[in-house]
Amino acid sequence: MKFGVLINEGPYQHQASDTAYKFIEAAIEEGHEIFRVFFYHDGVNNGTRLATPPQDDRHIPNRWTELAEKHDLDLVLCVAAAQRRGMVDEDEMKRNSKDANNIAGKFRISGLGQLIEAGIQADRMITFGD
């Protein structure tokens, strides 16, 4: 079955991203397909490559990257939400004349249409948030 997942909170502050991670891991183990993981609201902050959490804690952005590499997940940050919050890839950096970018390699920035498409294409949509 095809799942679409929406994550609405940033890393660490709320458990939403942790629960979504464990849910997706289990869904893949059960043979389901993850159509897309869409990060909205503060959820876009999961995509940073600049975090350095304490070594005895989980590294949330890296954990997403590793899961995406292993299972070819489509991790999408909403562009409007990302612009508000300072999540930037190379294209966005140029377009908005910024001097740095901070997105991790396996995430991409795209429009809200990607969320609607997930709603249309996936058999199931599930939201993790506050």
Binding site: Y40, A80, L112, G113, L115, G119, I120, M125
Partner: protein, 128 residues
Amino acid sequence: MEDQELESGIVKKFIYVNRKAPHGTIYAHEALEVVLIAAAFEQDVSLAFIDDGVYQLKKGQNTDGIATKNFTKTFGALEMYDVEKLYVEKESLEERGLSEDDLSVDVEVLASSDLKKLFNESEVFFNF
């Protein structure tokens, strides 16, 4: 390819369930941005306002004093986007001492027992 699939005519019943007050958090504001984008996808769209979500539609909101963006004006423009099915839960309105006259746009006020039927007919849920 995905565009072709969309054009191939899948139309689903989307429901946006809005349960949060405006301004104190961004959920209501960014939820409305989803609805506007979604309009271009020609899906069957309904908006439900439950709990504090009914406050999003309160008349006369003016955010000049808190220096944030007054996104609630956009509710008046939803019709232009062919988003016309707005449902407000009767229990939530009454609990807040509000009536339909207090709202800024045309809505259908439904008891939760009727809103439940709408839930049962819907296919894709977005919760904000």
